[in-house]
Amino acid sequence: MNILVIEDDRANAELISKLLEKEKYNVDVAVSFLEGERAIDKAFYHLIILDWNLPDGSGYDLLKVTRELLIESQVLMLSANSDIGYRVKALDAGADDYLCKPYAIVELLARVKSLLRGSSSNKNPILKIGNISINKQRKEVFVNSKEVDLTLAEYDIFEAMASNPNKTFTKFELLNLSNNKYASSVMSNIIEVHIKNIRKKLSNKEVIKTIRSVGYKINLSS
C-alpha cells in the first residue's frame, strides 16, 4: 500500500516514514504544499497523511483541492491544534480522520491501519496469543475459551499490545491509550497497576513482558 506523508517538519516526516516502512508500507514524503500537490497529481496513494501547517499553504486547502479533484485517497489530517473546531472543519472538508500532535506512534499506527483496513475490507475481529483470544468487536477476552473480566482501561491496553505484538510500549504510550483525555504524569504509575491486574486476571505472568525501565511488550513465546 502506498502512503504519502506531507509534513514540512523533516524530523516528524522522517519519523512517520520510518515507522510506516517498519510496518511494510510504501511511503513517499513531501515537505511543502507544492510538493504534495505534485505527488498527488503523479500517483495514487491509498492514504495521505497531511499536516495542517505547511510553509507555502495550508494542509486544509490541499485537502479541499484533493477532494475537488475527486481523488479517493484516505486522508489523515495532523495538526498541533487540539480545538474541536479544527477537527470538525477537517472532517467536514472530507478528511477521514484527524490526529492531534503530539501523538503516540502506536496511535498513529492504529489510525493508519484502521483507515487502510476500511478500504481493504480485510477485517479479522479475533486476535489470538497462545491460549488467549480477543474479540475486538465485542471487546471480550478469553483464556482457554473462558471469559476474563477486564476493565475498559485494561482491555484497551491489552488489545493495543496484542495488536502490535512486536512493539515495546512505553508507559506513556499506554497511558495515552487508556485515558487519552486525562492522562497525567501523576498517573503514570497506574499503568503498572493495570499491567499487574491484567497478568493476574489472565492468570499468566509471562504474557506481558516487562522491559526494564522502559515499558512492556507482549511475549509471544508465553
Partner: protein
Amino acid sequence: MLDSLNKSLSKRLLFSFIIIGFLPFVIFLIYTLVLSETKIVDKLILDQHHQASQISKFMNTHLLSLDKEVAFLSRLDLMDDILAEDIDKRISRLLKQKKDDYNLKLNFFVINDKGQIIASSDKNIILTKFPLQDKLNKNTKKFFLDKKLYIYSKVFASFDKNKNLGYLILEYDLENLNNYLDHTLNAYAYIKNNNIVIGDKAPFDISINSEKDSISLDDYIVVYQKMDSILEEWYVFYVVKKEIALEFFYNFIHFMLYLSPFIIILTIFVSLKFSKYIVKPIEDLTQVTDEIILSKDYSKLLYMSSSDEVGRLAHSFNILLNTTDKTLYASEAKSSFISNMSHELKTPLNAIIGFSQYLISYEKLTDEQLDIVSNIENSSQYLLEMIYGILDIAKIEAGKLETDIKELDCLSLSKECFSMLEPLAYDKGLKFELKTKDYSLNFFKTDEKIFKQILINLLSNAIKYTKEGKVVLELTNTKDKFFVKVIDTGIGIKKEEMGKLFKEFTRIGNSLSSKQKGTGLGLSLSKKLSHIIDGDIYLESEGINCGTRANFVLRLKD
C-alpha cells in the same frame, strides 16, 4: 424602598434634599402648633397683669387726687360759712365749680355737726339730712356703699382749730372708674368688691384664691389681681376670650397649612432639579464606562467638560483606562505568545517522543541505550504535559477557554473518576472510599471536561501523597452548593505552605514529595479551572502527617 435607596445615588440625594427642604418647615410647624399657643397665652397673661396693675395705679392716682382735693377744700377758711349755713352759697358755688371741673358723676357736699347738708354741688340735697353720718369715722376718711365711694374730711373753724364745724364729703360714683377699664380687646374688664361690680362682668363666676392669679379655662383666659391704696378691697379682672386672643395665631396656622402643599411641591421640584443636576455627570460617566465595559474597547477616553470632582474622577478614570488598555494589551500579547510558543513546541516535541518510542519499539537497543532513550521519552512527556498546562493557563488568563455547560449526572462522573484511580489506590494498599449519602442532586450544570480534570487531579494528588491509610471521595450538597471533598490520611501540609500550593510550579518540599512526579501545575490549574465553572478549591490540613482535605465547591445555578 430602602433597597432602592441603597441602589440609587440620585434617589438618595433626592431623599436627602426633600428631608432638608421639609425639616425646617415641619419643625417650625410643630413648634408653632405645640409651643406657640402656650407662649402666646403666657404672654397675654403677662400683658393683662401689666395692664391691670396700670389701671389699678391710674384709678388710685385719680382717687388719691380726689382725696387730696377733699382735704384741701375742707381746710379752706371759706368753710366757716358752715356756721352761717352758707347763706351766701359761697361753698355751694365752689363745690359746684369743682364738680363741673371734674365733669364726672360725683357730688361734693358739706354737712354740719348735726348731719345736715349745708352746701352741695347738687343743690337738690341742700338742707336734707345726710343719712350716713354714722359711717363717718376719723380714721378711715372713706367708705364704700353700693357703687358709691365716700371720701370725707373734717372741717375745723379757721378761728378755732379745735372746733369741728362738720364734714366735707365727696360722694363718688364708682361707675366713673369704668373709663379706666380698657375694652378694646373684646375682653371683659371689671373691678369687683364682693358683689359690687364695675365694668363688663364675665358671664360666669370666678372664685378668688389669691391676690394675683391667672386661670386658663377652655374658652377664656382670666387674669385678676388685688388692687391697693384706696381700692385695696377691690380686685381688677380681665377675662379674654381665647379664640379672640389667639385669632391671629390660628390664622397663621391656617396660613401655614394652606401653604404646605405649595412648599411640598416646591421642595420636591427643587430637590429633583438639584439631585439631577448633581447626579447627571455621574450618570453620564457611568453610561460611558458601561459602554466601555460592554465593548471591551479600553482605548476609548471619557470626555468631561467640568473641572469639578466628577471631572477629576473622569480624568483619573482615563488614566486607569489607559493603564488597563496597556495591561490588557500586554496580557493578550503574553497569552498569544504563550499559545503560539506552545504550538510551536509541540511539533519538535512530537518528533522527540515519536523517535524515542520508535527506538524503543523497533530497534534492538542495549540496556544502557534503552535507559537513555527512556529518559528522553520521560522528560519529553513531562515537558509536553507542562506545555499543555501552560497553554491551558494562558487560555484561562486570556479568557479564551470555552466551557460547555450542560446538565450532568455528577455522581456518575465522580464514580467514573473514582474507578479510574481506584487501581492506583489499591496498589498502594490504601483504602479508597466513595461517600455519597449526603448527596441529593440528580443533575448539576457544569462542564464535564473541567469537572473531571479537577476531580482526577485532586484524587491523584491525594493518592500520590498518601503512604498508608485511606483516601475518601465525598460528595455532599446544601441548598445552594455542591461540595466535592477529597480527604486523605497523607503527609498533610504545613500551615505556612498552604498558600504556596496554588502557585504555578510549586510542590511542597519534603522528603516524600521529592520522589513524586508531577509538573507542579496541577493544583494551580485546577483552581483556575474551578473559577471558570463558578467554583473554588481550597485545602485544609492540620499540619505535617495530619492528612489533607481538598474541597472543591461549586455553586448551584438556577
